[in-house]
C-alpha cells in the first residue's frame, strides 16, 4: 500500500530525500507530524467531557435519590396530616393576632357616651349600631340641652351631630343622632 522504498536518485534539493507522492502516504506523514497533536487535543477534550459528565451524572443521581427519599418521607400520611394541622394553626393564630390588634372595642365608646350625658338630662333610650348613635333625652332645662349639644359638636370624635328638640308642656324631648369619626 505505502511506497516507502522508492526513493529517487535526484539532486533536486527542493525535493526531500524521502518524499511520498501517493495520497495514503501523505496522509500518514501528515497524521504522524501535525495531525497527532490535533487528535490528542480532541481526545483530551472528549475524555474531559466524558469524565465530567460521569461525575455530574453521579452527583445528579445521588441528589435525585436524596430528594426522592425526603419526598417519600414527607408524603407519609401522618406527616401530611401534621403539616396541614400546623399550617391551619398558624393561619388561626395569625388571625387571632389581627383580630386582637385591629378590631375596635366598642364598650369603651358606649361607656364614654353614657357617662358623658349630664345629670340634668334624662336618657330615655339609647341606640348604638354600626358606629351610629341615637339618643332620646328629656329635660326641663333648655340650657343643659344647649350645653350638651355644643359639647357633642365640639368633640372631634363625633360627626354629623343632629339635635331635634320638641318642647311639650313643661318637658323638653330631644332626639340626638350622630356618628363616630373612624380613624
Amino acid at each position: 500500500m505505502f511506497k516507502f522504498g522508492k526513493q529517487s536518485q535526484s539532486i533536486d534539493f527542493l525535493q526531500p530525500s524521502y518524499s511520498p507522492t501517493d495520497v495514503w502516504s501523505t496522509a500518514y506523514i501528515w497524521l504522524t507530524n501535525v495531525g497527532k497533536y490535533l487528535l490528542i487535543a480532541v481526545e483530551v477534550l472528549v475524555l474531559g467531557v466524558f469524565f465530567s459528565r460521569f461525575i455530574l451524572d453521579r452527583q445528579n443521581n445521588d441528589l435525585t435519590e436524596e430528594v426522592n427519599a425526603k419526598v417519600t418521607l414527607l408524603s407519609n400520611e401522618s406527616w401530611q396530616k401534621n403539616a396541614a394541622i400546623y399550617e391551619n394553626y398558624q393561619y388561626l393564630l395569625s388571625d387571632v393576632k389581627t383580630v386582637k390588634e385591629k378590631q375596635i372595642i366598642n364598650s369603651v365608646k358606649v361607656s364614654e357616651l353614657i357617662s358623658g350625658i349630664p345629670s340634668s338630662l334624662h336618657l330615655s333610650s339609647f341606640g348604638f349600631s354600626a358606629n351610629k348613635i341615637t339618643l332620646r333625652l328629656t329635660s326641663n332645662s333648655l340650657n343643659s340641652i344647649k350645653d350638651y349639644e355644643s359639647s357633642l359638636k365640639n368633640n372631634p370624635n363625633y360627626s354629623n351631630v343632629v339635635f331635634s328638640i320638641d318642647k311639650s308642656d313643661d318637658e323638653i324631648n330631644v332626639s340626638v343622632n350622630f356618628g363616630f369619626v373612624i380613624d
Partner: protein, 204 residues
C-alpha cells in the same frame, strides 16, 4: 530517461503549485473540518447535556435545601405542639369549627350573673354587617344576639366584661329604653360579633 532541466522561474512555480503542497492543504483542511464536525456533532451535544445536568443539580440542590428546611420546621413544630398542645386544644372551644359555641355560652351566663343581669334569650345568626376593616384568613365573623335585663348602672361593666371574653367578641349594636319591668330592671338588646371557622376538619 533524460531529466528535464528547470530554470529558477519554473522552480518557484513548481514550489508554489507543487502537488504535495496542494495535498497537504487538502489534508489539513479535511482534518480541521472533521475536527469541527466532531466538536459540533459530538462534543457540543455532550456539553449541552452537561449544562442541562448542571442546571438539574442546581435545581435539585435548591429543592433538597427546601425539603430539609421543611422537615426541620415540621420537627420543631411537632415538638412545640407537644409542649403547648393543651393550650392549642382550647382554641377548638374558643373558635369552633363545628358551630358549637358552648364555651361562649358557658362564659356569658356567669358574666351576666356577676353583673346582676338575667338572660332572656340568645340567638346566633350569620354576620351581615360590613364593619370589619380587616380580612381574616380562616376566621369567619358570626353574630350573636343577647337579650337581657338588669340595672342600668351595671350595663357598662357588662359590655366591658363581654368584650373581654377570650374569643375577642365586639359589641356591634346595643340598645335599651328606660322602661322598667315590675322588678325595676331594664331590658337590653346586645348584638355581638364573634368568630368561628367554616371548616369542620380544621383541627383534625
Amino acid at each position: 530517461m533524460e531529466r528535464k532541466r528547470l530554470n529558477t522561474e519554473e522552480y518557484i512555480k513548481f514550489i508554489k503549485e507543487s502537488p504535495e503542497k496542494k495535498r497537504g492543504y487538502i489534508f489539513a483542511g479535511t482534518t480541521v473540518l472533521v475536527s469541527i464536525l466532531l466538536i459540533i456533532f459530538a462534543v457540543r451535544p455532550t456539553i449541552v447535556t452537561i449544562t442541562g445536568i448542571n442546571a438539574s443539580i442546581k435545581e435539585k440542590n435548591r429543592l433538597n435545601t427546601a425539603l430539609d428546611a421543611k422537615i426541620s420546621t415540621l420537627n420543631k413544630l411537632d415538638k412545640q405542639f407537644q409542649d403547648i398542645g393543651t393550650d392549642l386544644n382550647d382554641l377548638k372551644l374558643i373558635y369552633p369549627a363545628d358551630g358549637n359555641f358552648s364555651l361562649l355560652l358557658a362564659n356569658i351566663n356567669p358574666i351576666l350573673s356577676r353583673n346582676g343581669f338575667f338572660l332572656n334569650g340568645i340567638s346566633f345568626d350569620k354576620y351581615s354587617d360590613k364593619n370589619i376593616s380587616f380580612t381574616p384568613k380562616v376566621l369567619v365573623p358570626w353574630s350573636v344576639k343577647i337579650s337581657t335585663k338588669g340595672k342600668t348602672a351595671n350595663v357598662i361593666n357588662l359590655l366591658k366584661d363581654l368584650e373581654a371574653m377570650p374569643m375577642f367578641p365586639v359589641i356591634e349594636s346595643f340598645s335599651y329604653t328606660d322602661q322598667k319591668d315590675e322588678s325595676g330592671l331594664t331590658n337590653y338588646s346586645i348584638n355581638m360579633r364573634i368568630y368561628k371557622i367554616d371548616n369542620a376538619n380544621f383541627y383534625e
